[in-house]
């Protein structure tokens, strides 16, 4: 079996993507753990006791998003140890994690493995400052590599909004509540050393646990593990941009006529303004046609919670909460269920929820004529994101629907070649823009049927020509030879390599 660290050290030996293939499910049993967590008086004591060595793999979860204090505080202590050549595997990196820029420049951190990279750290990686290429993967892939032992984590630090008397961790309560804590489930089960960092240790037991207490080796109580105002949004809102609304309406037109708009449908959409507009119009249409879905999945917002309350879904499967209403709902609605990232999207998990999806609505920075999608970089070739659940949901859903403006401020969506492929075109079914929708040519009958129903269907080449005529054909970006990031497809192969922009 190929180890992730070996691929990063020599990416020329990496297994390359060769088309989407059926991935055999695996029955994976985590090691039996029955720990009795030791309390440390502060982070310094904990980090010293952790016995962190050169080359160790350290992980964090991103549920506190840009309000996270834990990564910075822990790495500050680790830096004092004088260790170097560490691999960092946080499930996502935000602007607040800027301490990593310094650690990268000093060679303390030489490898990064993550699903999402933004802010100053993304800038530093784009400039080639990280010693080895960053390893960019999907959420489901992270669960796979940990559970399948392709990546062995030495130390994981779990930000814990609430820890009860049995050391069970719950993300839905406490001053730094963030909702569901799905991403570190695999870390907690498989890492050598598991530490919890909390600002809310309570007596008694909480009724629900994201992470069981018997997995925890040690913990520290801090004053604050995060800034609540930056953890979840107060309210997520649907877009008021008339063009965004037009695109969203067209996406629902596709859904209506796809042949799969019926009882039992399973649905996922993003948290951006346009994606939420799709949810709203979908809800209106489901009510009109009396359709009851089975589950809604993914990052959950108020709009999805309301759809369940209105009887449009039997239950919700939540991997992260995007707003306060979602956080509240997990606590009080029985059918608002938490799932781990493995159960969400692991390609090895036979019960992965993405495989049951009928429709998923996603964005894209760039897309090419074969429907290959880039969500890793901006149009300038600079890293500003990552696959997240993109490749997983695209693979699992019957219909993957990309919604995007064809061009905006002269930045065009459709290119001959994208800066870096994250999601292969074979898993993408339709692109919906304000100038019409392009359906993957493999759906011959659907294309004919939708044309006859009067939908604005164009080929992806025609859409590209419209953009090129309006904006002019953009010049190609110029790259140096240095590979600064590897884009992994969820089956463990490398689907693309990103080079440094000149």
């Amino acid at each position: 079996m190929v180890k992730i660290l070996d691929i990063i050290k020599d990416h020329n030996k990496a297994p390359m993507f060769d088309g989407v293939k059926k991935i055999a499910k695996k029955d994976l049993t985590p090691p039996n753990k029955n720990k009795n967590a030791k309390q440390y008086k502060d982070l310094q004591e904990l980090v010293k006791a952790a016995n962190i060595k050169d080359g160790d793999v350290i992980s964090f979860h991103h549920h506190l998003r840009n309000g996270d204090f834990v990564l910075e505080k822990v790495m500050t202590e680790i830096q004092k140890l004088g260790v170097k050549d560490l691999t960092l595997a946080p499930s996502a990196i935000f602007p607040t994690h800027k301490i990593l820029v310094d650690l990268i420049e000093k060679g303390i951190v030489t490898k990064i493995i993550t699903a999402y990279l933004s802010g100053p750290v993304a800038q530093a990686v784009s400039e080639g400052k990280l010693k080895y290429p960053a390893y960019m993967h999907s959420h489901g892939a992270r669960a796979r590599m940990i559970e399948n032992k392709e990546l062995e984590i030495d130390h994981t630090f779990i930000a814990a909004p609430t820890m009860d008397s049995q050391n069970n961790i719950d993300g839905t309560t406490g001053p730094s509540a963030c909702g569901v804590i799905a991403y570190p489930a695999a870390d907690a089960m498989y890492a050598k050393n598991v530490y919890a960092i909390t600002d809310n240790k309570i007596d008694g037991t909480s009724s629900k646990a994201d992470i069981k207490g018997n997995l925890i080796d040690g913990y520290v109580i801090l004053d604050k593990i995060g800034d609540p105002s930056k953890i979840v949004s107060g309210t997520t809102k649907i877009t008021t941009d008339p063009i965004g609304l037009i695109i969203a309406k067209q996406a629902v037109e596709f859904i209506k006529h796809s042949g799969e708009f019926k009882n039992g449908l399973c649905f996922q959409t993003g948290a951006g303004g346009m994606s939420l507009a799709v949810a709203k119009f979908m809800a209106d249409e489901m009510k009109k046609q009396n359709i009851k879905g089975k589950y809604a999945l993914g990052g959950i917002t108020k709009y999805i919670v309301d759809m369940m309350k209105d009887g449009l879904f039997e239950y919700l499967l939540d991997t992260q909460c995007f707003d306060l209403d979602a956080v509240k709902s997990v606590g009080i609605n029985k059918e608002h269920r938490r799932i781990s990232s493995s159960l969400y999207a692991s390609p090895l998990n036979k019960d992965a929820a993405v495989d049951g999806l009928t429709f998923v609505v996603l964005g894209a920075t760039e897309i090419d004529l074969d429907f290959n999608v880039n969500v890793l970089t901006s149009s300038d070739g600079v890293i500003m994101g990552g696959s997240g659940g993109h490749a997983d949901t695209s693979a699992g859903a019957k219909f993957t629907i990309i919604v995007s403006k064809l061009f905006s401020s002269r930045i065009v969506l459709i290119k001959d070649k994208v800066s870096c492929i994250t999601t292969p075109g074979e898993t993408v079914d339709v692109l919906v823009t304000e100038y019409g929708m392009a359906i993957n040519p493999k759906h011959k009958e659907l294309i004919a049927s939708l044309k006859s129903k009067g939908l604005n269907i164009k080929t992806i080449k025609e859409l590209k020509e419209i953009a090129d005529n309006e904006c002019g054909v953009p010049a190609n970006l110029e790259y140096e030879d240095k590979v600064i990031a590897l884009s992994e497809y969820r089956d463990g192969t490398i689907i693309d390599k990103l080079k440094k922009i000149k």
């Binding site: 008021t240 008339p242 063009i243 609304l245 037009i246 309406k249 304000e434 100038y435 009067g454 309006e470």
Partner: protein, 278 residues
């Protein structure tokens, strides 16, 4: 002229000019007047000229609202618009006198829509509409009318009820398209629906808007229903048959059908078919 919606587009705004054809309105009114500041009239004129000249893939009617004749801009506006391929010119502060001046400078073959936005112009609407054959429609500007009347404009619209009725009756009497005023509240879609239902009930077939998000709701209300469309087609077909037999009037489902009814049916069919509704 047969259009359900007229969307205002600020003339000095490249973003809105670029997306104007995609909004779904039956017509767009590119504005050189109220939405453009005095210092930017020249900018707007040039920007509009370039965007309209290079317009490919026209999806709807395109017109321009020029500045009023009591400003120093209207002649330069017309000098530009006369060179463009436009469907109509919207003349603000329309009056018989202002139209006399407009006629000396405007292209003979572009349609004119008059903007009725004061007490005087409302009372003189009969003469204004009759002034020239180039005039094909009238738009009721309730905001400026309310300012002229020194009354408060509300979303319920009681204060403009009489004005609206007088306006639409005059338009219908002279066979000109009556275009209602924009709805005041951006986010009150229930209110928009009710207001549009009301104006439909008194004879309006068209309304202008400032907020593009209103377009769909207005269309839903103003569109003939599928039943109305089917019935209209039946009546027109029957009319053809009866005409051959020399009958000018006939009975349909217990009601008398004569020429005005047939004309209304033709208009229904036209809207449904040109906009691909059914």
């Amino acid at each position: 002229m047969n259009a359900r919606t007229f969307q205002f587009i600020p003339g000095n705004n490249p973003s809105m000019l670029q997306s104007s054809q995609l909004l779904g309105a039956d017509a767009i009114i590119i504005d050189l007047e109220d939405s453009v500041s005095i210092d930017e009239k020249d900018s707007a004129r040039k920007l509009v000229q370039k965007h309209v000249e290079e317009l490919k893939n026209k999806q709807c009617m395109v017109g321009v609202r020029i500045n009023p004749t009591d400003s120093k801009f209207w002649e330069d506006d017309l000098a530009i618009t006369n060179k463009l391929n436009l469907d109509f010119i919207l003349v603000p502060k329309a009056s018989v006198d202002s139209l006399k001046q407009i006629k000396t400078k405007i292209n003979k073959d572009v349609d004119i829509i008059v903007l009725i936005e004061s007490a005087n112009s409302l009372l003189d609407i009969k003469n204004i509409l009759a002034f020239d054959q180039q005039i094909k429609a009238a738009l009721f500007g309730a905001e400026d009318y309310a300012a002229d009347m020194n009354i408060v404009r509300t979303s319920k619209g009681n204060e403009i009820e009489w004005a609206r009725n007088y306006f639409v009756i005059n338009c219908v009497a002279q066979n000109k398209l009556a275009i209602d005023t924009p709805f005041t509240d951006s986010d009150d879609f229930e209110g928009l629906r009710n207001d549009t239902l009301y104006v439909k009930s008194i004879g309006f077939k068209s309304r202008s808007c400032v907020n593009p998000r209103h377009i769909d709701t207005i269309h839903e209300v103003l569109n003939p229903t599928l039943e109305e469309y089917k019935e209209a087609k039946e009546i027109v077909e029957l009319n053809e048959q009866f005409k051959k037999e020399g009958k000018g009037v006939f009975s349909y489902k217990g009601k008398m059908v004569d020429l005005p009814i047939v004309k209304r049916c033709l208009a229904i069919i036209d809207i449904c078919e040109t906009r691909g509704l059914y």
